[in-house]
Amino acid sequence: MEISSTITETEPQKFALPVDSEHKATEFHLFSAAAPHMRAFHLSWISFFSCFVSTFAAPPLLPIIRDNLNLTATDIGNAGVASVSGAVFARIAMGTACDLFGPRLASASLILLTAPAVYFTSIASSPISFLLVRFFTGFSLATFVSAQFWMSSMFSGPVVGTANGVAAGWGNLGGGATQLIMPLVFSLIRDIGAVKFTAWRIAFFIPALFQTLTAFAILIFGQDLPDGNYQRLQNSGNKQKDKFSRVFYHGITNYRGWILALTYGYCFGVELTVDNIIAEYFYDRFNLKLHTAGIIAASFGLANLVSRPAGGVLSDMMAKRFGMRGRLWALWAVQTLGGVFCIILGQVGSLTASIVVMIVFSVFVQAACGLTFGVVPFVSRSMDYICLRSLGVISGMTGGGGNVGAVLTQLIFFKGSKYSKETGITLMGIMIVCCTLPIFLIYFPQWGGMFCGPSLEKIATEEDYYLSEWSSKEQGKGLHQASLKFADNSRSERGRRVHSQTLSSNATPSANV
C-alpha cells in the first residue's frame, strides 16, 4: 500500500499511522489511541463492549430477579429470547443508517436511544415489563454492524481483518465481563445496607451510565472518516439511491450468504444463548453462591479476548497455504468441535469437569465466529468490507443470522421446563454439529469448495465471479472497477501453489481508481 502522497492536496494531513491513498491506516497499533484511526478503534470496541454488558446484565442476577418479579422458567426463557431478537432487524437496519448518517452518529444514536431501556430495568415490576426492557436493551447489539463499518472506513485491506476481529472479539467480551461485574456491584450495594430486592435495581445504573458515557465519548472524540465527518451525502447521494436495490438483490440472492447466516447462528447465536443461561445453570445445578456462578459464567465470555481474534488469524493462515478451501475446512472443523464439546458439557456432572469443558467449548465457538468473518468478505464484492460504497448486506445478514440462531435455540431448548438445562445444552450441541454441515455446500467456482477443486469452466477466474454481479450497462459506467481491484487482491485465496503462477502475469500494480 502506498503512503499518502500529497501532490494534489494543498494542506498535507499528518497521521500518526502510515496510510494509503484513501487515508485509511495500513497498520494496526493496538496500544495507541492516536486520532483518528486507533481512536476510532478504541471508541468502537468500548462502546460495543458496553452494549454487551447492558444486554447481558440481567442473567447473572436472575436468581434474585426471578424471586422479586415472581418469574417462571417460561418468563425467563421468553425474556432471554426477547433480548436477542430485537437485534435481528436492528443489525440489518444499522447498515443503512451507517450509509446515510455515518457510523459515528448511527452508533451513538442507537446507544443513547437504548440507554433508557437499561435505566427502566431498575423499575421493572412484572414479567412483562422485564421482557420489554430486555427486548429494547437488546437492540443495542446492532452496534456490531456500525463497529465493523467504522473499522472498514478507517483501516485498509491488510489490517481491516485484524481491526474487525479484535473490535468484535473485545466487544463480545462484555458478555463475560458483565457476569463478573453485576454480582460484584450487587454485593457491594447490598453490603452497604440495601435489601436484596432493591440492591439489584440500583446495580443496573452502572451499565446504564457506562453505556451513556461511551455514546458521549463517540460523539465528542470520534469521527467517521480519516479526513473528517460525514459529508458524503453531497458526494454520493444520487449514486447511493440507484445502487441500493441492485446491491441488496445480489446480496440476498447469493446462497453462500444464507449458509453463512445459518452457521453464524450456531456459533455466535450459541454464544449469545450461553451468555443468557450459563450463570443460572451453574447456580442451580451446583448450588454455588451468586458471585461464584458469576465468575464461572464470566470465563465463558472472557475467552473472547483471544479466541475470536485467533479464529481470524487462523483463517488467514489457512488461506495462505490452502486458499479459500482452507478457510472453509477450518471453519467447519472448529465449529463442529465446538458442538462436540457442547454435547459433553451437558453430560458432565462434576463442577470441575463442567468448568473445564465449558472453557474449551467457549474457545472453539468463539474462534468459529472469527473464522466466519474470514470468509464473509469474499462472498460478494457488492458487499462492503474494504470499499466504503456499498451496504454490507451480507455482513448484516450474517450478523442478523447470528441473532436468529440465538432466538431459535432459546425457544426450542431453554424456554419453560420442558428440558432440564443440561439436556438443553446437549441438544444445542447436536444442533451445532448439524447446522455446520451446510458449509460443505459452499462452492466458489474460482477457488473450489470443501470437497471440489476450482471449476475448469467459464466462470472460473476471480474477475468472472465478481464481474458477474454487474450488468454490462453498469460495467459501461465503470462501476465495477473497485470489484476488479478486489478480484485482483483476492487471487491469494487460491492458496500457495497456484498463487505463484498468477503472480508472473500481474507485472504492474493497477493505479488507484
Partner: protein, 159 residues
C-alpha cells in the same frame, strides 16, 4: 401477609400419641418456610427432591433451636427478602449429627390445606423511579443536543 411487616405465630411440639422415647435422638429443631406446590410450578429452582441435600422446597429458615419436650411457640416477622408465593411451615428434628430424623408441617401430606400467602416487597423506591426517568430523559435530550450542534456546524461550514 406482607413481607417485612406481618408476623406469623408458629407452634410445634411432639405428637403425644407416639410411643415414649421416640424423641430420644432429637437434639435440634429447625423450623422453615417452604414453597407450596402451586409456587413450584415451572420453577425448577424450587423443586422438591426426595434426597434432602438436593431438595429445594424449604429455602427460608424461621428458627433453629435446641429441642425441648413440650410445646414451643414463636412469633416471627416475615423477612424482607421473602418472595411473593404460597407457603407452608415445616419443622425438622435433627439429631446430634445434624441429620433430619423427623418432621412435621402445618399442612396435609399433599400440601394443599392451610397454606400461607405472602406478598413480597417490590424493592422499588420513589427515588429510584425518579432517577431512572431523569437519566433516561437526559440521554434523549443530550442526543438531540448533539444533533442540533452537528447541524449548526454543518451549516456554518457551508457558508
Amino acid at each position: 401477609l406482607r413481607a417485612g411487616e406481618d408476623k406469623i405465630t408458629v407452634r410445634w411440639g411432639l405428637n403425644q400419641s407416639l410411643p415414649a422415647g421416640t424423641d430420644s435422638a432429637y437434639k435440634t429443631i429447625k423450623v422453615q418456610l417452604c414453597y407450596a406446590p402451586i409456587s413450584q410450578v415451572d420453577r425448577a429452582w424450587r423443586k422438591t427432591e426426595d434426597h434432602l441435600s438436593k431438595d429445594k422446597t424449604c429455602q427460608f429458615k424461621i428458627v433453629k433451636r435446641p429441642y425441648t419436650t413440650g410445646n414451643q411457640t414463636l412469633e416471627w416477622t416475615i423477612e424482607r427478602d421473602v418472595p411473593t408465593a404460597t407457603y407452608f411451615v415445616r419443622a425438622y428434628a435433627l439429631d446430634a449429627n445434624d441429620h433430619e430424623v423427623a418432621y412435621g408441617q402445618n399442612t396435609d401430606a399433599k400440601k394443599t390445606t392451610n397454606l400461607l400467602e405472602i406478598q413480597a416487597i417490590s424493592g422499588r423506591h420513589v427515588s429510584l423511579d425518579i432517577a431512572s426517568v431523569c437519566f433516561s430523559v437526559f440521554s434523549i435530550i443530550s442526543l438531540m443536543g448533539f444533533f442540533f450542534v452537528e447541524k449548526r456546524k454543518g451549516r456554518k461550514a457551508q457558508q
